[in-house]
């Protein structure tokens, strides 16, 4: 029952905005309501390059401290011009609401002095309902 509620909350977040292809991460904003002690968000990191890249998904709080969220999958290889869904389950940790950043990070090209890491972060707001 709990799993179904979490998945339902996640689907609500996914279906609300219009998703499009070839974006680095979509959606970038979301507000979820959950009847459990966690809320779920499904994001879709995209690879705008023509070659395969390694992508990592991380969850941070408002101060950019890591959040112990369940990310499935948290790291993967993504083909050029492709995107894939990632399910993120964020615990409320006893709070009634929680704001988090879900960030998609690409691994920079090697063998240069100044490497640049691209990070696309979405802001998500979870409300707990009793």
């Amino acid at each position: 029952m709990r799993t179904i509620a979490i998945l339902a909350a996640g689907l609500t977040a996914v279906l609300s905005p219009i998703a499009a292809t070839s974006q680095s991460m979509t959606p970038m904003r979301g507000e979820m309501r959950s009847f459990t002690d966690a809320f779920a968000v499904r994001v879709s990191p995209g690879n705008p390059y023509n070659q395969r890249i390694r992508v990592e998904v991380h969850v941070y709080d408002q101060d950019f401290q890591p959040v112990d969220a369940r990310i499935t999958p948290s790291a993967f290889l993504l083909a050029g011009q492709a995107s894939r869904p990632v399910l993120v389950v964020v615990p409320f940790d006893g709070a009634n609401e929680r704001k988090v950043r879900i960030c998609t990070e690409s691994i920079p090209f090697p063998s240069e002095q100044t490497q640049i890491r691209a990070q696309i972060c979405g802001k998500f707001f979870g409300h707990r309902r009793f």
Partner: protein, 176 residues
């Protein structure tokens, strides 16, 4: 004179005929218009509404990494120095997002360099939106494609100097 008069009658009658035809044509047009009006008002119609919602989106494409060179006094290792080059990225956005660079945390320096280095990442944009070089988060409000130039400067002070060897630092460009 007789032929001329006959010809005059013919011309008059032709004119009269053309006026009659013209009047008939106008009346026909008016009648058709009236019929068209009746048909339009009588036919059932319905409105089909189309809605679309675009949420804030951002795509960052790294075009090239940067190169740092050392200054003549060996206290600055920067992409701004002569021979250095800024990194380049492309940002496509709908607007309503913020662009920033993180403090540099990942570096590798030669083993001979044991001094403290202060790293300062900055960025500037051109294209859809122009942003002067800054190190603080800046809102991108204009939709479109902007080119981002990312610079990194490392500095030492006092008696410290950069030493021979390979330096590498990672700058995180964030769009949120």
């Amino acid at each position: 004179m007789q032929p001329a008069t006959t010809s005059g009658y013919r011309r008059f009658s032709l004119k009269l005929l053309s006026v009659v035809i013209s009047l008939n044509a106008k009346l026909t047009t008016i009648k058709l218009a009236a019929c068209a009006g009746q048909t339009a008002s009588a036919a059932p119609t319905g409105n089909v509404l189309f809605n679309g919602t675009i949420t804030a989106t951002c795509t960052v494409t790294i075009n090239s990494n940067g190169t740092m060179t050392v200054s003549s006094n060996l206290q600055s290792l920067s992409s701004h120095n002569a021979g250095g080059s800024a990194g380049s990225a492309q940002v496509d956005t709908t607007g309503g997002v913020s662009l920033s660079v993180d403090p540099v945390t990942t570096t590798s320096v030669p083993a001979s360099d044991t001094t403290a280095t202060t790293w300062t990442p900055t960025f500037a944009t051109s294209g859809a939106q122009t942003v002067a070089e800054t190190g603080t988060a800046t809102a991108l409000t204009v939709p479109g494609t902007s080119t981002v130039a990312i610079n990194l400067a490392g500095t030492t002070s006092g008696i410290n100097r950069f030493s021979a060897g390979n330096y590498q630092a990672t700058v995180t460009l964030r769009c949120e």
